[in-house]
Symmetry: C2
Subunit: 415 residues, 2 copies
């Protein structure tokens, strides 16, 4: 008998039929003898509707009231799933954030969980009761509802799993796991059986939409084994994965991964734009003069490259595409204090990243990527690297070609 957290997102609870389907998934785990806590999101579309209500009432709305309105979505799903489970003869009850309670900090709208009281949940497990928990919400120090920010139900699930020392946190979603890359772009992409926390963190922040970055961070800190799987599988089918485990991807400590791959996956994002400043006068404090105003404006600069020629320097960096116009305007406004020859930019770029914990102990992974891209005539505009990641910025037109090329040279299409 194990403790298990099961988390279901908006598309998995989109209507009453889907909620019944979720109840069957839960029943399977209960019948297998597990103590189960289920974490649910709002029914697909509900949160957007409630957010739109707040926005059309006032553009500048009180985050505490926003939380009161928006948290109603998960509340509804939790009650309905409890009813569906009871209807199958399962002892179940719903829990709202303030009832457990799930304590958060005071940052309404983007709150962080500070503490979860698990004693009542554990007591009810002892009575054979399933806990159905409204995700995305907690209780702030002001005794009001706080929400965790979009996608926060993943974070709720991992935090609950840590609090009750669950053996595993199953994240049910509309895909059956984490892939070596986007299968819509690279048809030979493979589902990974296991991914290390650090790798998932890079993959999540690089645009893989499977899990929220914060939930992966939390899982890594608390060592919560997180299993990504599909809610669209037949809930009553036998679990038929390798070694009789269900189909999905386990995100776990790297020690649990016996055969470490050199490269685990190829991620991409088109959500960054490039800005190039030519022949900036090179003197101390110039970088601060450029990046200071961007930081003050809340613009997140990602990749930066600088190359000196004589007494001037060329500087290229990336910003989120949504901040591109604002960034260009800001740069124009500082040209009086920071002399430069020209400013140019493009949002027609893509960032491609090669991720793998195996890189730590193997040299030459980056060189292999650069050589392969060059052989395809793909020009690299920017490069950044970390211990387990290489990212390159290229012309967006080459995205698919670059991804297929890299996916192939690291032999990700082979099992």
């Amino acid at each position: 008998m194990a403790r298990l957290v099961m988390k279901f997102g908006g598309t998995s609870v989109a209507d009453i039929d889907r909620i019944r389907n979720v109840a069957r998934h839960v029943k399977r785990e209960v019948d297998a003898g597990n103590d189960v806590a289920v974490v649910v999101s709002a029914m697909a579309g509900r949160t957007n509707e409630l957010v739109a209500f707040c926005r059309s009432t006032s553009i500048l709305h009180d985050a505490r009231e926003y939380d009161t309105v928006v948290s109603a979505g998960e509340q509804i799903t939790a009650g309905l799933l409890a009813i569906a489970l009871q209807n199958m003869g399962i002892n179940a009850r719903s829990w709202l954030g303030w009832q457990i309670p799930i304590h958060t900090d005071a940052a309404h709208g983007v709150a962080r969980i500070t503490d979860i009281r698990a004693d009542m949940l554990l007591e009810r497990f002892g009575q054979g009761q399933v806990a159905v928990i409204a995700g995305f919400q907690g209780l702030a120090p002001d005794n009001r509802v706080a929400t965790l920010g979009r996608g926060g139900s993943d974070t709720s699930a991992v935090a609950i799993a840590a609090a009750i020392s669950a053996e595993r946190c199953d994240i049910y979603t509309d895909v059956d796991g984490v892939y070596t890359t986007d299968p819509r772009i690279v048809p030979t992409a493979r589902r990974l059986d296991k991914v290390a926390f650090e790798e998932m963190l890079e993959l999540a922040s690089l645009g893989s939409k499977v899990l929220q970055v914060r939930s992966v961070e939390l899982a890594m800190v608390h060592g919560v084994r997180t299993f990504v799987r599909s809610s669209f599988d037949d809930p009553d089918a036998p679990q038929t994965g390798a070694r009789n485990t269900p189909i999905g991807t386990l995100i776990c400590d790297e020690d649990e991964i016996v055969e470490k791959q050199l490269v685990t996956g190829i991620a991409y994002t088109k959500d960054e734009a490039k800005i190039t400043l030519r022949r900036v006068e090179d003197k101390p404090g110039v970088a601060a003069a450029i990046f200071g105003p961007l930081a003050e404006a809340g613009i997140n600069v990602d990749m930066i490259s600088q190359s000196k020629s004589g007494r001037a320097t060329d500087m290229t960096f990336t910003v989120p595409t949504s901040d591109y116009d604002r960034s260009m305007a800001l740069i124009e406004s500082i040209r009086g204090t920071v002399p430069m020859e020209s400013v140019s930019g493009s949002s027609e770029v893509a960032k491609i990243s090669v991720v793998g914990i195996g890189m730590r102990s193997h040299a030459g992974v980056a060189a292999q990527a650069f050589k392969a891209l060059a052989s395809r005539g793909i020009n690299i505009q920017l490069i950044t690297t970390s211990e387990i990641k290489i990212s390159v910025l290229i012309d967006a037109a080459y995205t698919e070609l670059a991804m297929r090329t890299l996916h192939s040279i690291y032999e990700l299409d082979k099992t």
Copy 2:
């Protein structure tokens, strides 16, 4: 400076524009220097949608989970109205039942308020803050959300008014007050300026849809002056009723009504059906043998009349139309133990009631009604009376004629 409760129902908060309109009503009262608590219902249609979700998940649903789901509607409105008020520069915050708290008994789905902690609301009034309270909900002894049953927001408003010793509880609705009778049937019906609690109780339970019976009971017990008015009036218009008071109907203690009318109003309902048992064998215990099974089946018998002829008796009574078929079947099933000649019935009947506290001290009101109805050829099938009410059951085809006749003989069309 007075304390005021303002309650807005579902049609008054049906969309964001209507919520903004409510905010303007609130602003008017705040600007006049009042301490204001606003009680809101769910946006029109929301509660029905949530109830339908529960029903389609399972016909037999846990009332505690039903309450969790359905109470989300008022939660959403409370947050949105707080945002709308803040947007007008008014200091406001939303309160959910569990936050105040509004304590209820354990009867989930049809809970009764047992106690309201008013200290936090009063403290915030001292800081100039408007309280926006989710109606229809409270906190049950099990630390879970409880709802008060349909229309419970009226009850919430009156209970809050009692708890904070409000000078008045304003119920904003889609009509501008309580009328002498239904204006759709009797065009000369007049809005009443004042109605005594006892009269309103009779009018409410007799089919006037303006206020929930329970809220009127509560207002009477606690002496809460309750003012029914329209939310469709221009919120910014000067208050132009008699003696510079707003237009509406005040429900108050009869001592506050200086010029007492003999008759205050004529109510009607078509929601009752008649059942007649002919030549029932008359012996001790026969009434119990007939009405016992109906009571056990939860069928509410209203009017009863019995007339003896020889050793047999005729018995006529009314039941809610929705229970008519079930009642007829029950009566058939007891004919073995209670011999009777025949059973007949009809749902084509209407109950017309004449209500007025003035009747207490004036004889002849009933005789006047019987005479007027007879002169119109309207046959009275059943009669019941109380201290301040006379009800007659007639053929439904004569409903309009009977109401116009009674409205006229008691001079209700004259001011």
